[in-house]
Symmetry: C2
Subunit: 231 residues, 2 copies
DNA sequence: CTAGTTGTAGTCATATTGACCACGTCAGTG
DNA sequence: CACTGACGTGGTCAATATGACTACAACTAG
């Protein structure tokens, strides 16, 4: 029965799987734990949900603490909740995990919970041993990001606006670890209504040469029709 | 800091958005609340997570209580966690919501939390006023079910095995509220590797007449390549 | 038997996809 | 300054997928 006197108390935390593109490779933010348990081991950033805030508000607060930015410029969405009874050896903790991505974030400033925070390419992070069940969480988060590129416009959140089609292509190639044919990728993106809208101007000269690309901004759509399937 | 003495306590519940197909229409399980708050109002079934169980274990326990079945025959997956501070007027409650589907479930036996439980077609349920934030949750759950049919083999969980292609078509038509061309749907399903595997035997005679259909069982795949897109 | 319904196979015009090619634009270099 | 190599953009072309539709066999009810 719903009897306020006989429910077991839980601690509720949020953890963040925060991704960005650095040097054309998908990277995740990790913190080195300064406290027991798992002291010195890498972990996803996170913290307790306060008594008067929702999990999403708590996630945004953590995000601001970790990045040092007042308002987070990217995308934030809930991944899942992890609630195995033994996932934290100290007490019963339920963790609501969020996935965040943003373009090109700066080197992080360590939050109060973290002795030190840093970006790590996901292929390296996937082979690291992480605190708690965070290796499992990271794998789930990666799969979420990869699948969301297929049928949503989320890739545009990984780049700053305005961007070139090639910038988008770099996102897809980094997240899916594959290569696209330039012309085919372009045809697909431009053929998907509401994905991108052209804006005035062309890209700055790249050090590598080549014609300067037309610039675009995100379109109105949030889902892709048709989707861009992984091979 | 992670200090066990200064975290706020939460109650953690699971709620279930449980779907089945009844008379070719997608239906959701609701309970009429027997307690305050929202006494007498329809709600999604749910209950507290016990101190020694994960949210998923709690969801399966609730599922068994609501359906009266020992082991739930369908599919269960986490939807999301709802944590607005004022979502329950009594106390701070975080709810982990699961989506479940199963073929043809029987009339439910009321669980201990519910004065009465019943199936309601989703088009009716969507227009009802539900307790707590359950109307919002139901809308999210419906969208989850609808989108999952596009790129996973979940439709096979809505029917008992073995089934005919037509049975699958009925699932898609009920969930998406549209009609397929028989021949095209068949071609699509059979052309998707791992979706269904033929088995010996044909369907029982339908009262309506017609040739008896080849029977199939679910294939090995969990995701559909290529997907079956909504129009 | 006939009428009506369903399962299955096939046709056909159109759209999409993947693999290319061509050409113009640009930066850097000899 | 001409050349090179990379890049943006516009194409072609064959293979495949899609949507609309026809044809017919198999089956039940009456």
């Amino acid at each position: 029965m719903y009897d306020a006197t006989d429910y077991p108390p839980f601690a509720v935390t949020v953890d963040l799987a925060m991704f960005t593109l650095r040097a054309s490779s998908l990277s995740v933010l990790l913190v080195r734990r300064g406290e027991e348990p798992f002291r010195g081991m890498p972990a996803l950033p996170g913290g307790f949900v306060h008594a008067d805030e929702s999990a999403e508000v708590a996630a945004r607060r953590e995000l601001a603490e970790e990045t040092g930015l007042d308002s987070f410029p990217g995308h934030l969405e809930q991944l899942a909740t992890y609630s195995e009874p033994d996932r934290d050896p100290r007490m019963r903790v339920v963790s609501v995990v969020f996935v965040a991505f943003a373009p090109n974030l700066p080197e992080p400033s360590a939050g109060s919970d973290a002795a030190d925070a840093y970006w790590l390419p996901v292929e390296d992070a996937s082979h690291e041993s992480l605190a708690f069940d965070h290796a499992h969480i990271l794998a789930d988060a990666l799969e979420r990001v990869r699948s969301k590129l297929e049928y949503t416009t989320l890739a545009t959140h990984f780049v700053e606006s305005p961007f070139s089609i090639r910038d988008l292509q770099t996102v897809y190639e980094a997240v899916w670890d594959m290569t696209w044919d330039r012309a085919n990728f372009r045809r697909k993106v431009l053929g998907t209504r509401g994905f991108v809208e052209p804006v005035e101007g062309v890209a700055d000269a790249a050090s590598t040469g080549g014609r300067r690309a037309q610039l675009y901004r995100p379109g109105d759509a949030t889902t892709l029709h048709p989707p861009i399937p992984r091979p």
